[in-house]
């Protein structure tokens, strides 16, 4: 691993991020990444956060048209309420703050506590839970569907709405609509190695793959002998389309988990496009790359978001962040 010691991995990355992105204010000690021009007058602010190890999520999505601030936790560990309250106070213009929370027990608990504390400080807070992972089938007997690739769609589209000047209830409603219209499915070709453990978190022999993987190196639901890119695309697209049943065009995210080369990812994207065409799903916009990663895991996920004219306009709206940037 390209690190100094496991204990300083997150702080080291934040120092590097600060040096690379002067347009962001990176508080290394308190672990908050804020757009430098915050608070932006008369606009709703978006704050997200989660465990580190998923970069560029969330810090790489801070900037005009997307997040106002992000709170990175330890690797695969939700941040603490203190960070979220600090972030909310830094970005609130008086119009309120939307917390974008991926549905994991830790994230939910910490953001809930933070929302209470922020409200005590007079900040109006709304929360949206992202839970798009269709691999979690039995939501009644689990912690519920996980938040994965759709987080990017929620942060982009709700961020664009906030940028247009929409009030908090409207920004929250759009975030909710995006989540409800999004589904994801991921596969892993290799296990993940966390800096703290230094060895793979589960055994995945070469020649096998794990279907229904999350983004924390937690094993998936099913293991199979290696499939081709086309077979994996059919499996993932089936899982997503059967659950979402889109009637409108979709945004498509073909996301690398961290260690899969773009060469393979583009090839996989071609197969996903084929699979979607065969199932009569029209693709309005596409994003291919490593956006919601899982450290050094090899693999990919497919996320679809069913859109309408308003959501398409919000998608095309300008965005200027380290990892997502267009129209400016």
């Amino acid at each position: 691993m390209l690190i100094n010691v496991p204990e300083t991995v997150v702080a080291d990355a934040l120092r590097g991020m600060a040096a690379a992105h002067p347009e962001l204010m990176v508080d290394v000690e308190n672990r908050v990444i804020v757009r430098r021009d915050a608070p932006v007058a008369d606009k709703v602010a978006l704050v997200s956060g989660g465990g580190s190890g998923h970069e560029p999520l969330h810090g790489g999505f801070v900037g005009p048209g997307m997040l106002s601030a992000a709170c990175p936790g330890e690797v695969f560990t939700s941040p603490v309420p203190d960070q979220m309250v600090r972030a909310a106070a830094a970005v609130d213009s008086g119009k309120g703050v939307l917390f974008v929370v991926k549905n994991y027990t830790g994230d939910v608990l910490n953001f809930d506590m933070a929302a209470e504390l922020a409200e005590d400080e007079g900040i109006q807070v709304a929360k949206v839970l992202v839970d798009d992972d269709v691999a979690v089938t039995d939501s009644l007997f689990t912690a519920g569907r996980r938040g994965t690739g759709a987080t990017l769609f929620v942060e982009k589209l709700a961020g664009a709405a906030a940028d247009e000047g929409a009030p908090l209830e409207r920004v929250e409603a759009i975030a909710r609509r995006v989540n409800e219209n999004s589904r994801s499915f991921g596969v892993a070709l290799s296990a993940v190695t966390t800096p703290a453990k230094g060895s793979p978190t589960f055994e995945l022999p070469p020649g096998e793959l794990e279907l229904g993987i999350g983004i924390h190196g937690e094993p998936g639901r099913e293991r199979r002998p290696m499939m081709t890119s086309g077979e994996i695309a059919d499996f993932a697209v089936d899982a997503v389309v059967e659950d979402l049943r889109p009637r409108n065009p979709v945004l498509l995210l073909v996301n690398g988990m961290g260690a899969t080369p773009l060469l393979e990812l583009y090839g996989f994207h071609a197969e996903v496009q084929r699979a979607l065409t065969e199932r009569n799903v029209a693709v309005a916009r596409v994003l291919v790359g490593n956006y919601v990663t899982s450290l050094d895991m090899a693999g990919a996920s497919v996320t679809l978001c069913q859109i309408d004219e308003e959501l398409l306009r919000l998608w095309d709206a300008p965005v200027r962040t380290p990892a997502l940037r267009w129209g400016v």
Partner: protein, 204 residues
């Protein structure tokens, strides 16, 4: 049998717990990598180190104040699910103890019951879901008998999570594949009660 517990006892309990967690961190991480995300040991180690540091100035001298301070540290330093859950356990227990300079074992058992109730309310887990609750509930019940009984009950509760299928927390995503592994959260809860019994033993 030891029955008067003062602030110093609670401070020693928590520093003993910190040492226990530090010693067992690799085991917790190992258990967590089987059905979670391999960070439970590192996270609790960081949290309890912060607790030890916060208790050093001896600002908190009553049993309740010591636990409230420790709980606040865990909430501020750990993150994940275990930060809010363990933080709430200690904070609620501390609040229930009130501001007396000494408490009895039975009073601690009652206060811990309030703490465990707060944990189940916050996390939504009930016994049998393969979580920390599976160690906490029997331990608190047994504390009315003795510190050693509480330690043994917590350990048995943690071991009894092995055949269970997880219904809460990250292990729940594994479905049936969570069966056959001991729950890391129940294991760390058992460590807290082991530290409690060790502290009582050393006080006798």
């Amino acid at each position: 049998m030891l029955d008067v517990l003062d602030g110093d006892f609670f401070r020693r309990w928590l520093t003993t717990a910190a040492a226990t967690v530090d010693r067992e961190a690799d085991r917790l991480t190992e258990l967590d990598s089987a059905i979670g995300d391999a960070d439970h040991g590192a996270n609790l180690r960081r949290g309890f180190a912060a607790v030890t540091e916060a208790l050093a100035p001896r600002d908190a001298d009553h049993p309740g104040a010591v636990l409230v301070l420790a709980g606040r540290q865990l909430i501020s330093k750990v993150g994940g699910a275990s930060g809010p859950l363990y933080g709430t356990l200690l904070r609620t227990t501390g609040k229930a103890l009130g501001d007396g300079a000494e408490v009895s074992r039975e009073e601690l058992a009652q206060a811990l019951r309030a703490g465990v109730d707060a944990v189940t309310k916050l996390g939504g887990a009930t016994p049998g879901d393969k979580t920390m609750v599976d160690a906490l509930v029997p331990a608190v019940d047994a504390l009315s008998t003795s510190f050693d009984a509480a330690r043994d009950a917590a350990e048995q509760g943690a071991e009894a999570t092995i055949p269970l299928q997880a219904r809460k927390g990250r292990a729940s995503y594994l479905g049936e594949r969570s069966i056959g592994h001991q729950d890391p959260g129940a294991t760390s809860s058992a460590l807290l009660f082991a530290a409690l019994a060790e502290t009582a033993e050393a006080t006798r």
